[in-house]
Amino acid sequence: MVSLDDYVARVEGTCGKEKDVIVFFRYEKKDEVVKKILERSVLKKSIAGIIFELAFKDHSFRLYSSGKSIFRGFENKEELNSLLSQLLL
């Protein structure tokens, strides 16, 4: 059965006042991840086809075509995992 671990390589809190969380997707799955997320979320803005500003339910986040994503405003890991599950599984 496919799980988040099949797509997510690492989750890391960034430093800076913004308290962002960066999700690093597995390199070999990055194209699949970018395609799935773009299909399931609403595109608000695209910068040079590399940065995608997206909305999904009540959340805004950024996806990078290099297979990384920045999320903001999550209370805990479970909340982030729940969103990622809806986007990817």
Binding site: T14, C15, G16, K17, E18, D20, I22, K45, I47, A48, I50, I51, R62, Y64, S65, S66, K68, I70
Partner: protein
């Protein structure tokens, strides 16, 4: 002038591609890349000489001990110390500063004393003193930073007093690249009978540093930022101060003698001589060999050339960034005579992480965030910053590419 195109041939990692783009490495203030000479020296050590150092009679241990001591000698000459007694090997700058805080500060600092720390310090030169202040009850006085990121020397002069026991200051800011006038501050500290600890993490790899000329009592720096391996760093200390200090950690290597006194039912201990008194346990011999080779590599280039190359790149980058990017802001002074090869910047409407991830797509590695200097960011009213930092293998062509990508990013 230094020839970066020849130097680049020594760095295998620079041939790598990221996302099908040639790697451009501009995160040198965080760590540097390693030349084949350093990688080869470490490989040779592990393939032919590896053993534990000191107090063994066999051939391999003798060879390892000689290499380990030779590395101390090379580092000592590199910073113009008085010999290996003044060069303690540690894991890195952070451990070196903690060594001073615990081995010196824990005993020397009391309730009525004061420690002066600048607000441009890396967390590694703030937190050990905050921890020690909570243990010993002394007061930390923080020196302000001007709006352009330079140190407020007037504030410094106002804060220093007979209560001051030690002044803790970075030689070069890891955020702005600004070079502090350490000689001026050490003179002021010594006039007040205070010591000075210099964080040399961003200076020793990039310029000629002479601990005697600076009159530093302690200086801390890391091997991995100067082409050497991770896990090895240096605490320089004046011999007469290190001799008076008690050890930092206890164990093997740092003692000369331990004998059980059956009458008193406890051990009597004699510390080892300097620098081994501060190097408890089996040291990082392989790392020391790599550091020695890194020092030789930098000496072969010449530190004056290293500095002028980085200043040339900084000047070039600042001009190109200013010309090409309308919404780009460089933080801190742009006066390259006051700076090393570090440029902190931001682009309107984008977070530092956005900038770093965009550049990453093109194989350009920069750092984003606080760079372990949150107080300085707060003082400069920045949520975070993007930081490009240069070294001997960087070229003007790489800066051109970097600026092109930044321009693309700001053009929606």
């Amino acid at each position: 002038m230094l020839d970066p195109y020849t130097i680049r041939k020594d760095f295998p990692i620079l041939k790598r591609k990221i996302n099908n783009h040639v790697l451009t490495y501009f995160d040198n203030a965080a760590t540097s890349q390693k030349p084949i000479q350093v990688i080869g020296a470490m490989r040779d050590y592990y393939e032919h000489h590896n053993a534990n150092v000191h107090r063994a009679v066999h051939t391999l241990s003798q060879e390892a001990s000689e290499l380990y001591e030779e590395s101390h000698r090379e580092v000592s000459k590199f910073i113009n110390a008085n010999g290996i007694e003044e060069v303690v090997f540690v894991r890195g700058t952070t451990e070196a500063i903690n060594l001073v805080a615990y081995a010196w500060g824990l005993r020397a600092l009391n309730k009525d004393d004061e420690v002066i720390v600048s607000l441009m310090e890396h967390h590694s030169n703030i937190i050990p003193w905050e921890i020690m202040s909570r243990l010993r009850g002394f007061r930390i006085r923080y020196v302000e930073v001007n709006a352009d990121g330079t140190l407020n020397y007037k504030c410094f002069e106002e804060l220093i007093s007979k209560k001051t026991r030690i002044v803790c200051l970075s030689h070069v800011s890891n955020v702005t690249g600004i070079v502090n006038d350490v000689k001026r501050v050490s003179r002021l500290a010594h006039e007040h009978d205070a010591l000075i600890l210099v964080d040399g993490a961003q200076s020793v790899p990039h310029m000629q540093v002479d601990v005697k000329d600076l009159d530093a009592d302690f200086m801390a720096f890391s091997g991995h930022k100067m082409l050497g391996p991770t896990g090895i760093g240096v605490l320089y200390g004046k011999k007469e101060i290190l001799e008076k200090m008690e050890p930092f950690q206890g164990g093997g290597e740092m003692i000369r003698e331990v004998s059980f006194d059956s009458r008193r039912k406890r051990c009597s201990i004699t510390w080892n001589v300097l620098p081994w008194k501060f190097e408890a346990g089996t040291p990082n011999v392989g790392g020391a060999v790599g550091l020695m080779r890194a020092v030789e590599y930098l000496k072969d280039i010449g530190m004056i050339k290293v500095k002028s190359h980085e200043q040339m790149l900084t000047k070039y980058a600042l001009n190109r960034m200013g010309d090409c990017c309308r919404s780009l802001e460089v933080y801190g002074t742009k006066d390259t005579s006051l700076k090393c090869g570090i440029i902190p910047f931001g682009l309107a409407g984008l977070s530092s992480h956005d900038i770093a991830l965009y550049l990453d797509y093109y194989g350009i590695m920069i750092r984003s965030g606080f760079h372990c200097a949150q107080p300085l960011h707060e003082l400069l009213k920045l949520n975070s910053s993007a930081r490009a930092s240069f070294y001997v293998y960087n070229t003007r062509e790489e800066i051109d590419r970097f600026v092109e990508v930044l321009r693309e990013l700001e053009e929606p």
